[in-house]
Symmetry: C2
Subunit: 329 residues, 2 copies
């Protein structure tokens, strides 16, 4: 019998195990154009926290007592769809479960890039596209720019650092803890700020970027964003990808330096990766070339077994991952 | 003997009369290319507050014990500059004084638009250009858009309302007090929120804009800006012109709804009118046509005599003006 994680109740602040329940469920009937997939890898991503709120947003909220959804990589074990054969590996959106029956048009066969399958949940998947288009399209980052990336040890941030270096930019990261910072530097970052160490963030950022920042790739919001207003150069661009510092908080965010937005002519723009889905081919071509040149590497924090997925998810908000957080079914 | 307002000390929070001193001063010697101007009109504008801080910004800070500067309209009373004759009316940057000796290249002769001279300190001057390019270039406002304007009874805001209506947009203002709101509506605004009346701002904005806002022209920052994140439609543009609510405060601004920036793909961009100075001809042509069509009107709050300029300036932050705040020398 298939199993899926269900949302039992909506988290008020930090999600807790009791908000979730792993239950047997019926994946549904096969039919014309459908495939049955045995999931091998499940992803947890910070944006999922937003779908646990009962508010209108760019994606509908998760429903109470219904299976959760999210990215997954799996193997086709039954097919009634043209172009999909038993044994094909696919990327699809029916995660948080060990088996899925889905319309094949919502699944993508994995491109042949000579990388492990789970990479398509990470730097070659949604987080990678978020990094790529966020940096280059929303942030309009170009060679020679100083790019500051918060959450630099995460799936998106670590990819931003590597793309920035591959494209001739100066890349400064921020992460929580010396180990994570060492890893971010090992990816090529010119520097990485440990925001958990002693001292105030503003001065750490000013020291790391004495000539200011041209692009801020924001995964964190809050104090990082506030200090970025202070450190930004005139004409800086802020690619607003996430504000994880606020996802589990009901307090307002406080900004002391936001008025710099005006005098410095800063441009801030929020974005969602789905707006770039039509440009996936361009992404795979450019990223594939970087992979072939050895310019991109990946690190994963892997939890074993579907039973561990809630722990993995909560770990996203408590510094539990270096690189991509994954669940191996 | 000429007189000029000097900065005696830097205001900590709200500026007070003791921060300023009106003193006799020497306007300097005439020379090749110079003109002597007898000022008729002096402007006070919120941005001047920023120059009273000792911080690096897009314009250098005012110096202690030196004459203040700012826009002025005056009559040339002595000229050693080609193209400038005694009796010419000019717009220049040596305000806060009754007489100025300046390089003629820093002065502009007033365009012939059949409007009173002081209009070139208001809707046909710097505040007008701020409104025009902020709305159309930074905010990318187009016909059919719903435009929300805070500080709508001010010099910039009241011009934004009128340009928006002349260009076929829906225009909603916000101002402090019923009288100001009535005036904003008399300019053509579809509605105007009295933010000082009972009730919370968010619900007032939701009621006034049931279909959301496409462009927010921000003069105020703070709670107005925060609520705009909540009311914005996907793809909304925020033209960040000013944040007057924070100019005299040392408290951080609090935002509860800023995370909407991401999901809604909101674009926020700060700007300074000087970046559009090279496009003044385009501005005068388009605005001149609106004036000729009777689509633009102006209101002024006039203080009499240079002695009153500090009161006029402080009044900008206490709701003292409807329309453009001016000093008639």
């Amino acid at each position: 019998m298939a199993r899926a994680w269900h949302l039992k109740s909506r988290p008020e602040a930090m999600p807790a195990p009791e908000n979730f329940e792993l239950k047997e469920f019926d994946p549904g009937a096969m039919g014309d154009g459908m495939i049955r997939v045995k999931n091998s890898w499940l992803t947890v991503d910070p944006y999922m926290r937003g779908r646990m709120r009962d508010v209108k947003s760019y994606v509908p909220p998760f429903q109470i007592d219904a299976p959760l959804e999210g990215g997954a990589i799996g193997e086709v074990i039954e097919s009634q769809a043209d172009g999909f054969a038993v044994g094909d590996m696919v990327n699809h959106g029916a995660g948080w479960r060990d088996e899925a029956v889905i319309d094949a048009s919502t699944a993508q066969k994995l491109p042949e890039l000579g990388v492990p399958a789970q990479s398509f949940l990470g730097y070659l998947g949604m987080p990678g596209m978020t990094a790529y288009f966020g940096l280059l399209e929303i942030g309009q980052a170009k060679e020679g720019d100083t790019v500051f990336v918060s959450g630099a040890a995460g799936a998106v941030g670590s990819t931003v650092i590597q793309i920035a270096k591959a494209k001739g930019m100066k890349a400064i990261g921020s992460a929580g803890g010396a180990d994570k910072c060492e890893w971010v530097k090992s990816l090529g970052a010119d520097d990485c700020i440990d925001y958990k160490s002693d001292g105030d963030l503003l001065h750490k950022m000013m020291d790391a970027m004495p000539n200011g920042l041209d692009v801020y790739f924001d995964n964190v919001g809050g104090e990082h964003l506030d200090c970025a207003f202070a450190v930004a150069n005139p004409g800086a661009r802020f690619a607003e990808c996430g504000m994880i510092s606020g996802y589990n908080s009901t307090d307002p965010m406080e900004f002391r330096y936001i008025m710099n937005l005006i005098g410095k002519g800063i441009m801030m723009k929020g974005f969602i990766v789905t707006q770039f889905m039509a440009r996936a081919a361009e992404f795979y071509q450019d990223m594939g070339a970087m992979v072939a040149d050895g310019k991109l590497e990946s690190q994963e924090t892997v939890h074993d077994g579907i039973e561990s997925q809630v722990d993995a998810f909560i770990g996203l908000f408590t510094g539990g991952n270096t690189g991509k957080m994954l669940v191996k079914v």
